[in-house]
Structure formats: C-alpha cells, structure tokens
Symmetry: C2
Subunit: 447 residues, 2 copies
C-alpha cells in the first residue's frame, strides 16, 4: 500500500480527552475516531489490526474444534425473561422498543439465544459434545465509557458456548478453552495470565479471567512471580485429550494468581515472599463453567443413552476482541508510539523513501514494494513528499515492527537500512537481503 | 469437516412460515434460525456462505482501490439532524434512547457518519480521490419483515462512499463501482443486471440498481434480451483508467433495462419486439452519485489547488451481503435443494460413505478427506451411521456442487463416484483422479 493512496489521518496533537496511553495512541495513529460516547469508528489502520486479531481468534477456536456461527446483535426480551436476566441486568442493558412496541435489547452476551438454538435443534446425547461460538458486536450501556476501546459501549467480543452431557465433559470443554486462549494470546504477542475470578452476572462457580499486566490495568492483581516464566509455546496439543488439557490447566493455574475481587491474603502469604508480586492487569478474556443454570431455566435437555431427558452442562467463554487492541498497545509501546507484535501488525513493514522524486530512490522503493507484495507480505510505502523526520515519526507512531529506509546515499553503496521498531537497531544490507530477512521473520519463503 | 462433529440441523419438514424457496431451503438446510421477527441467527453452514460472500466483496473492493474500515452499528441522532434525515426517515429507522436519555439510532446506512469522519480529517484536494467502505450490520424496522434474509430487519450490507474534487472524478468513482460490482456478482455465479433506478431516501440523480432475474423477485423488470448475453468475464481492467471504466458502463447500460419504478413504455417500445422481455428481479446492490447533497448540508469541504474551499462530490454504493444468500438460492436450486455456485459454496465437496463401519470404505473416506484438506480444500464428510438415501438427500439439500461417493463395491474395482450437483452426472474413477478433478475445478494445484 502506498501511503499517498491510503487514509491514515495521524494527529499532531495529543487529544485531551484520552486518559490512557492506548487511547491516546489509537487516536493519534488514526486508528479510531469516536462516533459518540463509547462508540468508535475503526479507521483503516485500526480496522486492519482488528481483523488480524479476529483472524487469530477464529483460527485458534477452529483448531480447538469449536464451530463458528453468528448470532444477531438485537435480541427479543422474551428469552431474557425466561432466564430471569431481563430484570436482573440493570441499566447496562440497552433496551429498545421496535415500531410494533415489542421489547428488544442489544445483546450484551448470548447465553439465552444460544440455549434457545440448542434446545430447538438438539435432542440426543449423540450430538454432544458441541461448542459453538461467534464474534459479534455487543453493547453495554456503561454509565461512564472511557479509556477508548478498553471500556467502550459497542465492542467486539468472541463468545463461545459448550454443551455437554456431563459435568466432566463440560470441565474438559472449560480446560480446552483455557488451553486455546493461552495459544491465542501468545500469538498476539501477549502474556495473559489466567486468574481465579468472580462470575458476576453470568453465574457459575468455575471461572478464570485472563489478565495482561500493564500499569494502566483496571484491576489490582496478586501473583506468584513464577507464573510469568510459563510459556505455552508451540507445543503440540490434542484438544480431544482430556488428560493433556487438564495438565495444561494445572500447570498454568496451580500457582497463586488472583485479582482483587478474589484475592485471599492468607493464601497469598503462603507464596515465598521473594516471589510475591502486586501489579495491575487488563482483563482480555474469561471462561466460565456454570453447569445447568441456563439449561434448567430454559428447558435445554437431551436424551441420555437410557432415554432419560437430562439438562445439558454448559459454559461460556469470552475474548474481548476490540479491547485487545488497547491491551496490546498498553503492553507494547514507547514514547514515540505503538510497537506492534508481528502477529497482529497492520502492515508487515514500512518503506521510507528519504528522497521522494529521486529516480533511483523511487525505483528502489517500487521494487521493494513489489517484491514484498509478491511474497504475500503487505508493506506500507511512505511515498509522500515529506521530510525524512516526519516520515520516521509517522512510522514510529503507527508502530510497524520493521522499517526499510531507502536513500540515494545508501543506494550508491548498494544498501538500504533495516530497522527494528522494538530495539531501534539498524543494519545496512542489500535490498534483496532486507527482503529475505523480513520474509523470514514472517515465515514466508523466498523463491 | 466430519458431519458427526459439525452442527447441521437439517429439517425434515418444510417450515410453514416460509413463502419463498430460498427461505424454505435456508431453514431446511440448517443455515439460519429466526431469532425474532426479521432477525436471524446464522447457523454454521449459513455463516460459512455469508463469510465467503463477504470475502469476495472485500477482495473486489480492494482490487478497485477502495479502502476498508468499519463504522459502528449505533449512531448519534445529532448527525442525522444535521443532514435533515432524522425526521425524514420515518418508522423504518430504529430509534433508541440510551441510559442518559440521548437519542441514538441503529444505522440503516452511513452517509452522515462517513461525511463526519471525512470533514474531521481531510482538508485538501491532495488527499482525493478517496473511497472508503465497510461491511457492517444495518437495521431497518420493516413493518412486515418476510422472505427470510431477503427482507429481514437486521441485515449485512457493504456500503462504500467516494469523495472527489469534481463531478467528473465522482462519476469515475461511480463507474469504477459499477465495474467492480459486475466482477463481484459474476464471481458468486450470478448475473446481476444494472438497471436505471430511483434514488429514494439516499438522494441524487445518477443511480443504478443491480438485479438478479428470479421468479420470486420483488420488482417487475423490463429489458432488452441482448443484455443477458453480456459477460464481464476475466477481462483485465485498470480501475484508474477513466475511459476504460466508462466504456464498461456504456457496454452494460446502453440497452434498455429498468424496474417498474423507472419503466418508460415509449422507450421500451423502441426495443425490437422479439428482444423485449418482462420478468421479475431481486435487487442485490445499488450505486448512487449524489453530488454535494451531504457535503453541503454537513460542511464537508476541501481546499482546491487555488486554496478555495469547495464541497466534495460524493456517492454511495451498496451491496446486500446477507440478502445475496437468498438471491443466489432463488437463482440456483432444484426440487431437491440448493445448488451452490463454486465461488460461494460452504464446502468444496461432499464425501458420502455408503457403508460406515466398513474398514475399507472408512479408510478410503479418511484418505480422501485428508488429501483434499492438504490441498487447501474443505470437504464435508458424512460419516454418520445413516442409510445412503438419507446421506444423498442431505447432500442434495445443502447443495455442495460436487459429491464423492465411496462404497465397498466401487472400491473393489478401485473406483469412487464423482457427481455434479448441478447436472446430476456421475463418473466412476480412481480416488486420486477424483481428487485431481475437484482440485482443478477450484484452481488448486496437485503436487
């Protein structure tokens, strides 16, 4: 993509309404624009990152055997009356009346609707286990929306629902989600720590939140420092293997890690003092097992192998897709701007032409752009008539992890400069080697 | 995908509420489930087709140089008061009041919001031309929603907006959209005819609707039979080339083709009698040039090359993404079910095991499944313990364009059967040849 043909409205000044760094940087980098309180338009750069995050979530859900579908944003109030949550939910639920006077609502979550789909179509234990999920816009009418996409009103969430015959099977679904979430967040360059949590309005006993450590986190967290050494990595996992999933859960949850909501000083005191940590964290996901809460209330039963009708065991599992953009930026930025992890970056690398209009420099940039594109990579080529300093500042602000700088002086020596956004380190090398290096970073084969 | 692990709730009986064939087939094939009046959940099979259609729209928009972004579903009423449409729009607009008593609405379209984004960020003619688009859920509170996803209340639409300095440039954007839409629909296996249309509440003089001919179409259409011989095909097009785009527009719109709204008997009479056709059509898209209607009302100006502030020329361009599923089925089905065009099919082919549990048949099906998957294809393997007749009926109903049937008798002779859903023709051939043939149909190389 040539910047001259793109829409990247970066801001020179720091918007005064933004209190935290991710919100400031998303506004400054031209990623979002507030449409109304707590509701944002995703400008092209922000939209690309949102799609990348969504794609990783889809891939990891499908890898775990979960089935994608899509439920609508608006729901009938009747289903929520069945579960009893219509009255419980309070003012965060956006209630809507249609032209015929019917009570509707903008879904803040989907337990009722998915349970209704399940009970309409599934009648036998033979159709279990089943986990359905979707990635859809939700609305929670926060009294004071703030922190940009971190606590917006209209937000994108992945929510998945498992249906199982027994508690044991449902707890396997719970573990499977925990494992797949660990993979999901690591692919985004995040360490998200599962912490025992409160279930809130979803209900249920077993629940873990996933928290990313960041100074601006809304929750205070308490944990055993050993936990930050754990990596899921690229280990092979068979999601059907109950023991394997259980072992991962134990590995990642046996050490003390809790938010202020569930913190227990006496338990925490058992952690050796030198490993006790207090910090702040951003919640980026949560998993729940809630048994037959909804299936009892809504009559979601299946016939077991002896023909008896039994309520299904369920859980629900969420990832805050739009919120993750904020969380990643909180965890990965410096004074000059965002530093995207390679897994979610909107463009794979930047190309900066130091002397736009110089025939040789223009030709070299065009060739780099074409070669990288042919490899299946997406470079962003700053081809504007701007000073080098301005071009560097924009690239630093929008946070592409790699930058190739091209100028007449280097080209005389047959080299361009490849710079890491994260370390700031640069090396001079011939264009074809720069291409090969960037391709290797993203796992693309050079022919 | 193994059917035993999928969620495909096909219905034996024809739902009585469905009046048209696409609605009946989508319900029967387990693609959708009504959540409330005119609002649908997209079950896994329906969601896959929806995503395939969305993907084609994205690819063709990006090919034409248009930039993807995403605006929210809920909008503030204030912007619509600026354009004057808040009061004009009537009861089809779903009006919402939030907890602070602010007037909001569920966007039926996005001219106001995109114009606000433009005026906030773009100030110079140097940033033009610019075309931004998004694919987002919309809501129109139809008084009598019907025909399933064809006339639902919550629906998925691609809407794009061009911003240009002059009328001439904006008309080029209009032509560019017309060309890209022709490509888009053809890739979905549809012939969509551009017809001169009424502009309705969007406003403007120049507008074409794209109509797919189908008996159940809501519009009566009148056209010159020559028009159905036109194919865009795989011709190369440079979307920056004004003359090229203009020539395509002329080729596809110079013959008589109008809906009942703009039909002119006197003009129609000039078409030679043997070429005059009357039929019914389904609208699947519309393009508009409306000049400075919104930029005047909302103050969206740029400085021209002499520094004068001038209002930008705009147009908007929509494709009914969710509605297209219904349109494709209306245009492509038979008594046994849906017949998906290869471009949008949810699975590339079906695999039917005639004798589940037979070691040889099971192994052959597993091998086919693995080989097709390794080629980047997605087969749906019916591995249930069902009679062959039931498996064939399901495959015919859900409409996968190709089916490979595997049974002990054929395997003794070293063959499986490859069947076209469209023609019903079958041929027996060794499994590896069946794989090669399916791969070739979808443009995948066999190693």
């Amino acid at each position: 993509m040539r910047l001259s043909r793109y829409f990247l409205p970066v801001l020179k000044e720091t918007p005064s309404e933004a209190q935290i760094v991710s919100h400031r940087l998303m506004l400054r980098a031209g990623m979002i624009k507030q449409a109304s309180a707590g509701i944002y338009s995703w400008l092209p750069l922000g939209y690309k990152v949102l799609r990348n995050i969504e794609q990783i979530v889809h891939e990891e859900q499908i890898r775990a055997g979960h089935i994608p579908m899509l439920m609508p944003t608006l729901q009938s109030a009747d289903l929520w009356r069945e579960s009893g949550r219509y009255d419980d939910y309070g003012q965060e639920m956006l209630r809507i009346t249609d032209r015929h006077g019917r009570d509707m609502l903008y879904g803040p979550t989907n337990e009722e609707l998915i349970t209704d789909i399940f009970r309409s179509h599934v009648g036998s234990y033979k159709d279990l286990p089943l986990t359905l999920y979707h990635i859809q816009w939700k609305f929670r009418d926060e009294i004071r929306p703030r922190f940009g996409v971190m606590r917006g009103r209209e937000f994108l969430m992945k929510d998945g629902y498992n249906f199982d015959l027994t508690k044991e099977d449902a707890l396997h679904a719970y573990n499977r989600h925990l494992v797949s979430y660990l993979r999901t967040y690591e692919r985004m360059g995040l360490q998200a720590i599962p912490m025992r949590a409160d279930s809130g309005p979803i209900g249920g006993d077993d629940t873990h939140e996933f928290l990313v450590l960041a100074e601006t986190g809304e929750s205070e967290v308490f944990y055993d420092a050993q936990i930050t050494d754990l990596k899921f990595g690229d280990r092979a996992i068979d999601y059907d293997d109950k023991a394997q999933c259980q072992a991962v859960l134990e590995e990642f949850t046996s050490r003390y890690a809790r938010t202020d909501e569930t913190h227990d000083e006496a338990e925490f005191a058992k952690v050796p003092e030198e490993r006790r940590r207090t910090a702040r964290g951003i919640e980026v996901g949560q998993i729940f097992y809630f048994g037959t809460k909804y299936s009892d209330a809504m009559g979601a039963t299946v016939a077991d192998s002896e023909g008896n009708k039994v309520p299904v065991h369920m859980g629900s599992h969420g990832i805050g897709v739009s919120r993750l953009l904020g969380a990643i930026i909180e965890a990965s930025h410096d004074d000059n701007g965002i530093i995207w992890p390679e897994g979610v970056t909107p463009f794979h690398c930047g190309i900066v032409n130091l002397k736009q209009g110089d025939a040789e420099a223009d030709a070299a940039c065009d060739a780099l752009h074409a070669s990288l594109t042919a490899l299946g990579l997406e470079p962003l080529y700053d081809d504007r008539n701007e000073r080098a300093g301005g071009k560097f500042a924009t690239m630093d602000l929008i946070g592409l992890p790699w930058r190739i700088t091209v100028g007449p002086r280097g080209l005389k020596n047959g080299v361009v400069e490849l710079t890491s956004r994260r370390t700031g380190e640069s090396e001079e090398l011939p264009p074809e080697q720069a291409i090969a290096k960037v391709a290797a970073i993203y796992g693309k084969a050079v022919a």
